[in-house]
């Protein structure tokens, strides 16, 4: 237990991922080395095609590497089966560019959904969803459906959902990519305040300015990390 806490949140050693595009192998990751410690706020910056989405999928336990070692929260991903990967994802909070809320559910139901997947009972879920939505500033939008919320508000719901199961880290994919700049600022402030409270954040973006909002930026190019510097 002690050791688990000491382990980095994410550690990648010579991580490789090769896709088959038809019959042609595409090397999306060609040996990524990365270490994210608890409490960090890492931006992974890179142009499209640099392999950052592939890295995001691997770090998000959505996919398995072709070669190299990847441990998430101290667990070696390559040894896991589908079920174990799903369990591991319960420890990761996803925030997507397009929010990815369930349209037929209210803000609260969306947040509760993450907890119901974990098997948490209804009353505990409702209480926690309420608190989280208050934290992200949506106290009076709890019973609204995504279509009744602005982009920024939807992303706040998504962040609340990502936080629902007390994840080891939040994994964000262009979290402000689909929001107007003024709202984006508010969302970023929220993300930073969450990080201040000790939640580790890994954010993937192609936007240099956005990357600088984090504590550290790893620059990706052509399937490798070319630089990894404090901001």
């Amino acid at each position: 237990m002690e050791e688990m806490f000491m382990a980095p949140v994410v550690e990648a050693i010579d991580l490789k991922k090769t896709y088959m595009l038809g019959k042609i192998p595409v090397e999306a990751l060609r040996g990524v080395n990365l270490k994210v410690e608890s409490g960090d706020f890492l931006s992974i910056l890179g142009p499209s095609g640099s392999g950052k989405s592939t890295l995001l999928n691997l770090v998000g336990a959505l996919d398995k590497p072709t070669a190299g070692k990847l441990s998430i929260d101290g667990v070696d991903v390559s040894t896991l089966n589908d079920n174990q990967l799903a369990d591991l994802r319960l420890r990761i909070g996803f925030v997507f560019q397009f929010f990815n809320l369930i349209p037929r559910f209210t803000a609260r139901d969306n947040v509760e959904l993450a907890m119901s997947i974990k098997g948490i009972n209804k009353s505990a879920r409702t209480k926690r969803a309420q608190e989280l939505l208050e934290t992200v500033g949506l106290k009076d939008r709890i019973n609204h459906k995504p279509a009744e919320l602005s982009g920024g508000q939807q992303q706040r719901v998504a962040i609340a959902r990502a936080l629902a199961n007390d994840p080891r880290f939040l994994l964000m994919d262009e979290p402000t990519g689909n929001i107007d700049s003024k709202t984006a600022r508010e969302v970023l402030n929220l993300i930073q305040s969450i990080n201040t409270k000790g939640v580790t954040i890994i954010m993937v973006t192609h936007d240099q300015r956005l990357a600088l909002e984090g504590k550290r930026t790893a620059q990706m190019f052509d399937g490798v990390i070319t630089s990894d510097l404090e901001n």
């Binding site: 959505l62 799903a86 997507f96 990815n100 369930i102 037929r104 559910f105 997947i117 959902r161």
Partner: protein, 433 residues
């Protein structure tokens, strides 16, 4: 994920596509309703016919007809109805009226036996304008009264024990064919009865005049050998003369006991005596034959109805595949936030279970209503002029079976789409537009 949460999630998905779900459910409803309606009517019909047959064919009575291919001679069941006992004696052993003595001597289990001559013909009343096609039965009135003491009973007039030759007894529906009080014949009416003699070429209509001495109580049902509402009873000696024969179309054997051993023993004794050239029909054999027939009918009708349920199943599969494609991204999201493949499978299967359950429940109720409507329609004179009233019977087996079958079909046809949904790769599903 908890079971209740899976249900809640599935239900929310169904609610989102109400019309589509309703149409899919309708398929199940129709299939289940058809099964329930057909089976409960068949069951009701079986009960009605069995009841009526039992009234006409008492358990302690055996019917001997010529021909070896009637229902299983040994009382063991299978086989078909041989002719109908009406003048269709084949080239095999013929039964003669005086065989009753020989049969009586066969076993101490036999109380008595009596011979019947049966011919098809028609009766004309005094006005001579209308006629009723009927079965004419030549029988010894006093023996017949003994054998069928509860059914060969006069409602009006009296049944003479030593009848004069031109006396007949008629069934209730010969007197009152539509059972509405409009009498075709009454007691003491002069009537003429006619049969077509087909043993000579050219065929010849034979007619004689008789007086109605009694009208029987209404019996209902249609027995073999026993008195019937539509029969005309002619004294045996007159019948021999009138039909020009001393052959019996059937011999009724009364037994001392109605237990199966006695029935089987006596049946065997009789068939053995006639070298397997006669068939012995017993109530138990008829009943087992009926059971066989009705289970075949049930299977057949149920099978047809099941086909409609299969079609409904394909509908479910179709809608599930469409739903799966539409919800690919949703499945990606669910998996990304930690849902197991197994749970995705359960969610889809639960949707089909909900559709199946609702469909089966509504289907059972509407099938039952349909069965009763059909029964009412038939009871109004649809079949046999209303002589046969059917009360649909919904057995627990049919009820449970329909429920299980409805849900089962829904689940089976949802298996493939559900499996495909569960196998979606989260990365690809999330990318799906």
């Amino acid at each position: 994920m908890r079971v209740s949460d899976v249900f809640h999630y599935s239900f929310s998905a169904i609610k989102l596509r109400k019309l589509r779900a309703a149409l899919t459910t309708l398929g199940v409803i129709i299939g289940i309703a058809a099964i329930v309606a057909l089976l409960s009517i068949t069951q009701g019909l079986q009960t009605t016919i069995t009841d009526q047959l039992q009234r006409g064919l008492s358990a302690d009575t055996l019917i001997v007809v010529s021909g070896s291919n009637a229902l299983g001679g040994g009382g063991s069941g299978a086989g078909g109805f041989a002719g109908d006992g009406i003048g269709t004696t084949s080239s095999s052993t013929r039964l003669y009226l005086n065989y009753t003595d020989e049969i009586n001597a066969l076993s101490s289990d036999i109380t008595t036996s009596l011979a019947l001559i049966q011919k098809a013909g028609y009766i004309q009343n005094g006005s001579g304008i209308s006629r009723i096609v009927t079965t004419m039965v030549g029988v010894d009135f006093s023996e017949y009264k003994n054998a069928y003491s509860t059914t060969f009973v006069a409602a009006s007039g009296s049944i003479p024990s030593n009848p004069s030759i031109n006396v007949i007894v008629v069934g209730a529906r010969v007197s009152d064919p539509r059972l509405n009080g409009t009498r075709f014949v009454q007691t003491n009416d002069e009537v003429s009865i006619t049969w077509t003699n087909n043993t000579i070429i050219p065929f010849k209509n034979m007619t004689y005049t008789a007086r109605v001495s009694a009208i029987l109580e209404r019996i209902g049902g249609f027995g073999i050998g026993g008195p019937s509402d539509t029969g005309i009873y002619v004294p045996l000696s007159q019948a021999e003369d009138f039909f020009g024969t001393n052959e019996a179309d059937m011999i009724i054997v009364k037994l001392k006991s109605s237990d199966e051993a006695t029935i089987n023993r006596t049946s065997k004794a009789i068939t053995d005596y006639f070298g397997d050239q006669v068939s012995v029909i017993s109530a138990t054999a008829v009943q087992s034959l009926l059971t066989t027939i009705f289970s075949t009918i049930s299977l057949f009708l149920g099978g047809i109805a099941a086909i409609s349920l299969l079609v409904a199943g394909i509908g479910i599969m179709n809608i599930m595949i469409v739903s799966l494609i539409e919800r690919t991204r949703e499945i990606g999201i669910l998996k990304a936030i930690g849902m197991k493949s197994r749970t995705v499978l359960y969610i889809f299967l639960t949707e089909s279970v909900i559709i199946g359950l609702i469909g089966a429940a509504i289907g059972i109720v509407s099938g039952w209503i349909l069965a009763n409507l059909v029964a009412i329609f038939l009871g109004r004179g649809g079949i046999m002029g209303g002589a046969l009233t059917i009360t649909p019977i919904l057995t627990a087996e049919v009820l449970l079976g329909a429920l299980v079958f409805g849900v089962g079909i829904s689940v089976v046809f949802a298996l493939y789409p559900a499996w495909r949904a569960s196998k979606l790769k989260p990365v690809e599903a999330l990318r799906y537009e």
